[in-house]
């Protein structure tokens, strides 16, 4: 094994001068690579809904415009069948595609740069063995000037600080394994870490929650109010494994992450992730919450009783694995109410997994509640049963409604 790693290191350090045979084809490496592709959730982005695995074609709505994920099957014409190992590895870790083309950081190479050599070479070994699929994809559908890939030179200069994963020797092996997955292949921060104006990570707020694709990927630091502070380690593991736990159900983009990635991870890795997330030390000072207007609360409470209590119950406890609990829910108390507004207006279907196949759904209420009613309802839900979060105003709901009407 050590020899293998050494070879791989040599391969990586020697840049483009790599030959195909240096990436091992033995079953162990391929199988490990398959698992790394699960950790890295390659299929989550590179498989279109209903499409062939890894054949690309999924649209990503970024703040800068639309990107369509490329075909990464070994098809020679439309996939990466002609790529050398070095080109593959460089794309994963440095964001440089074939012939040095610069990738957009929707491909999470800033976090993949933390992946171990062993994992990346295994990944390469695996991707040579998957079924080639002919599927032409035009990835770059960004508007000018973002469609100029050279602009990524500047972006990388500001935002891309490639460095290997550095274990914290004061923590357990489990914690370090979890940190590696979260920061490296798992690329949790790609969604959960807020971005600067250029779309680079605000590292000082890592995992504090971020808006993307019309959702708000919640705070997953140990913060008590709006993070995962109240979840036990077991609840975290259960959520990642089944898509649901006593607190909530995964839906939206997280349901894809559960389907393609976390539900297929080993229990050891899920435990490691939970160990790290419960003790990441990334929580930041809680925002001051102004108490809401009592009249709005009264209106919101009446709307809640008429529209929500049948499932979520008067006491906000909901029903495990069916109707998310609202009382004490971190998701409900996020500083940014985007996800809440979206779910109330448009509804949402929870992920279905083999272990929790129900996939219950929240119906849309956009036809029934106007902006002021949605705002009052959410203000109520965010400030009842010991919940505390900023009031939602009707202008914000109006904007979300307009955005949803325009988005595909």
């Amino acid at each position: 094994m050590r020899r293998f790693i050494t070879t791989a290191l040599l391969v990586l350090s020697s840049g483009a001068a790599v030959h195909a045979q240096t990436v091992t084809q033995d079953f162990g490496a391929v199988d490990r690579g398959r698992y790394v592709s699960i950790l890295a959730d390659c299929g989550g982005c590179h498989t279109a809904p209903g499409g062939k695995p890894f054949a690309g074609g999924l649209s990503l709505e970024t703040p800068f415009g639309r990107l369509v994920t490329p075909n990464i099957t070994p098809d020679r014409d439309t996939g990466i069948g002609n790529w050398t190992d070095a080109e593959f590895i460089s794309a994963v870790r440095k964001g440089r595609g074939r012939h040095g083309t610069r990738l957009y950081p929707a491909m999470p190479y800033p976090t993949y740069s933390k992946m171990s050599d062993q994992d990346v070479t295994a990944l390469r070994a695996y991707f040579k063995t998957i079924e080639p699929v002919r599927n032409e994809v035009f990835s770059n559908q960004l508007p000018f000037p973002f469609n100029i890939r050279a602009s990524m030179v500047v972006w990388n200069w500001i935002n891309f600080k490639p460095e290997p994963f550095r274990p914290d020797t004061s923590k357990s092996a489990d914690w370090n394994r979890g940190a590696y997955i979260v920061q490296g292949p798992g690329h949790c921060g790609t969604c959960h870490t807020p971005k600067n104006l250029l779309g680079g990570d605000k590292t000082e707020n890592a995992l504090n929650g971020a808006a993307l694709q019309g959702w708000f990927a919640p705070n997953i630091t140990p913060a008590h109010r709006d993070g995962i502070g109240r979840w036990s380690k077991e609840e975290l593991v259960r959520y990642l494994k089944t898509g649901t736990n006593d607190w909530t159900l995964a839906s939206g983009p997280m349901s894809e992450a559960v389907t393609h990635s976390t539900s297929q991870m080993t229990d050891d890795d899920l435990n490691a992730i939970a160990t790290y997330l419960k003790d990441s030390g990334l929580e930041t000072t809680d925002a001051q919450v102004t108490p809401p207007d009592q009249n709005v609360m009264k209106v919101g409470g009446a709307i809640y009783k008429d529209n929500c209590a049948a499932c979520h119950r008067d006491n906000g406890q909901g029903e495990t694995a069916l109707f998310p609990r609202l009382a004490g829910s971190a998701l409900v108390q996020q500083n940014d109410p985007t996800t809440l507004m979206r779910i109330v207006l448009q509804g949402s279907r929870a992920v279905a997994t083999d272990l929790a196949p129900t996939g219950p759904a929240m119906p849309p209420f956009d036809w029934r509640l106007n902006d002021a009613q949605v705002a009052a309802l959410l203000t109520y839900v965010r400030n009842t049963w010991d919940n505390h979060a900023a009031a939602v105003d009707s202008g914000t709901v109006q904007k979300e409604r307009q955005w949803l009407a325009k988005s595909p």
């Binding site: 529209n307 049948a310 499932c311 495990t320 509804g347 279905a352 929790a356 996939g359």
Partner: protein, 587 residues
């Protein structure tokens, strides 16, 4: 010419309870299965969201979830010498339409038949002598016993998460349950629902008059439940919108809430909706089915070849499909020969309305199957000597709903409209209670289904004709049961009591139940049955009718769904463990 599709192992006609159960059981056995469903796809959140599922006008009055007569209907008459006329608006019974079938719009009553129901003819002849049964009564023993079916009842109840209280646990009679029920291998999966005030008052009156009240077994769940397929259901909210409605709270058992989430994940199962099977195709020998022909919503005709054809439509349409496909000999009431269409039966229901003194019953707190019942007058639970009839039914106080458009009880003598009527409704709504009996409907030589000689459907196929009337035996039974119920009701000291026993002739314009049974009955003798004890066609061995109520030899004093579900599992096991190993007639 229909376009021919690639072959499947199994084609299922209709995706209701039996189609969903068989689909799951056979797809998880590794078979490639397709279900073809006449109506639309239906899903809890998209089709019955709580925000508008309880729309009485849309669902209960305008019957949104049901079959439209433009799609299909049947003709009805009471006697063989009459000319049948087509139903132009379903009223007396309401066939469902779409994925989930009757499992979407049912109330959730989940009864088992009595052990003596399964050997009905031999039991009655042995206890009372042959002369007790009218000559033209064509009841027969089931080809399965209660003991054989018990594990399958158990499975269906666990699939549903049925709420109730065991009365006979492995032979031990338990207080608070139904002491007359057949033995149960386990208690109900969830505890009984909470009872409303009216039901509690009825139970007290029944106990006082020497009866044995118990909570009706209900597939409206008293608490959250995860079924053996891993599917999660919620607690019932007692909203009173079950029958004719889909449940938005995931708390009424249905294919949607109990099977489909797991079934639709299986890569070797698919469903085609808004596609109506017009015919089961046979090979040149007529002994083997080659698949089915169906028409999609654009009118295009398709042929779906398959090795195994499962007829899982609503009972009436199972019968019609066999008649249209030439499977089995059609029944002839003149000669008594033939089997397809024979022994059509129904349900004999009646009611007793009471208005109580100074009581506030809050009847809107309701669930489809909530209620306190007694089983003292069901089947042969009581001595019929000298009564002049056989059969019986359960009775009691069910509170399935008290919805505003269709619930306006008034004392007798109230004007039919105007200010006095409104005042009376307002005064009576809270204190009125409707008690009911749910009686058996035994089969007769002149009650049957065949193809209508005159009327045709939109595809030019003959409509099915129903010839049915209540017989003296059932009317006497209904009178007797209604009297017993009225006696109990008098113990409530009502201000007013109105007893309405069932009277003939049968009227298809007044809603009674949608418990249409028989026509492809199961039995041990091909001369008097369409399918054998494994619900397999005697004539075409790769056609099964896995448990639709069309296989009931007669109907008993209970709602049919639990027996339908049990037979579906029974048939699935027979196919999996016996038929697949050696395809051909099962001995």
């Amino acid at each position: 010419m229909p376009r021919k599709l690639p072959r499947k192992d199994v084609v299922i006609i209709g995706l209701g309870w039996t189609g969903a159960i068989l689909g799951y059981e056979l797809a998880t056995s590794g078979l490639d299965v397709v279900a073809i469903e006449r109506g639309p796809w239906r899903d809890t959140a998209n089709d019955f969201p709580p925000a508008y599922a309880p729309d009485e006008l849309r669902y209960a009055v305008r019957l949104d979830l049901f079959l439209r007569t433009q799609q299909d209907t049947l003709t009805v008459r009471n006697k063989t010498n009459q000319t049948a006329l087509p139903i132009r608006q379903f009223a007396g019974f309401l066939p469902g339409n779409g994925v989930g079938g009757a499992g979407v719009h049912w109330n959730g009553q989940t009864w088992r038949f009595l052990p003596t129901d399964f050997n009905l003819r031999s039991h009655l002849e042995q206890r009372y002598g042959k002369q007790m049964l009218p000559d033209d009564m064509t009841i027969q023993d089931w080809p399965v016993s209660y003991d054989e079916l018990e594990p399958y009842y158990d499975r269906f109840e666990k699939l549903c998460g049925t709420s109730g209280k065991a009365g006979n646990l492995r032979g031990q009679i338990l207080p608070g349950g139904n002491p007359f029920e057949g033995w149960r291998s386990s208690d109900y999966p969830t505890p009984p629902l909470k009872q409303n005030y009216g039901q509690t008052l009825f139970a007290e009156a029944a106990r006082k008059t020497g009866h044995n009240p118990f909570p009706q077994p209900a597939s409206n769940l008293s608490e959250a439940y995860t079924n053996p397929l891993g599917i999660r259901m919620g607690q019932c909210t007692y909203c009173g919108h079950c029958e004719r409605f889909g449940c938005g709270n995931y708390s009424k058992s249905s294919p949607q809430t109990c099977v489909l989430p797991a079934l639709m994940r299986l890569p070797n199962f698919s469903a085609r909706t808004e596609s109506e099977v017009t015919k089961i195709n046979l090979d040149s020998t007529g002994k083997r089915a080659t698949g089915v022909t169906y028409v999609d919503s654009s009118g295009e005709e398709w042929e779906q070849p398959a090795d195994l054809v499962l007829v899982c439509a609503f009972s009436l349409f199972n019968v019609r499909l066999l008649l249209l496909s030439g499977i089995g000999t059609p029944y002839d009431p003149q000669t008594g020969q033939g089997v397809v269409g024979r022994n059509y039966a129904y349900q004999t229901t009646s009611s007793v309305g009471v208005i109580l003194k100074d009581k506030i019953l809050n009847p809107f707190i309701a669930t489809g199957a909530n209620g306190m019942m007694i089983d003292d007058y069901n089947g042969d639970n009581f001595d019929h000597s000298g009564l002049g009839f056989v059969g019986g039914g359960y009775m009691g106080a069910g509170q399935s709903n008290a919805r505003p458009i269709q619930t306006h009880p008034v004392p007798s003598g109230t004007p039919k409209w105007g200010a006095a009527w409104k005042k009376a409704v307002a005064e009576t709504y809270q204190s009125a209670m409707r008690l009911s009996t749910h009686g058996s409907s035994y089969s007769y030589r002149d009650c049957y289904l065949d193809l209508d000689p005159t009327y045709k459907d939109r595809f030019g196929r003959p409509l099915m004709r129903m010839t049915f009337d209540f017989h003296d035996n059932e009317l006497k039974m209904s009178a007797y049961l209604t009297d017993r119920l009225a006696e109990i009701a008098r113990a409530l000291d009502p201000v007013e009591l109105t007893a309405t026993p069932r009277t003939g002739p049968y009227n298809a314009n007044i809603y009674q139940t949608t418990h249409n049974t028989g026509g492809t009955v199961m039995g041990n003798d091909p001369a008097t049955s369409v399918v054998n004890r494994y619900c397999q066609s005697w004539d075409v061995s790769n056609v099964f009718i896995p448990g639709g109520a069309s296989v009931f030899p007669q109907n008993h004093g209970y709602n049919p769904t639990n027996t339908v579900g049990a037979l579906a599992y029974w048939t699935a096991d027979a196919i999996r463990n016996r038929y697949l190993k050696n395809p051909g007639p099962l001995g």
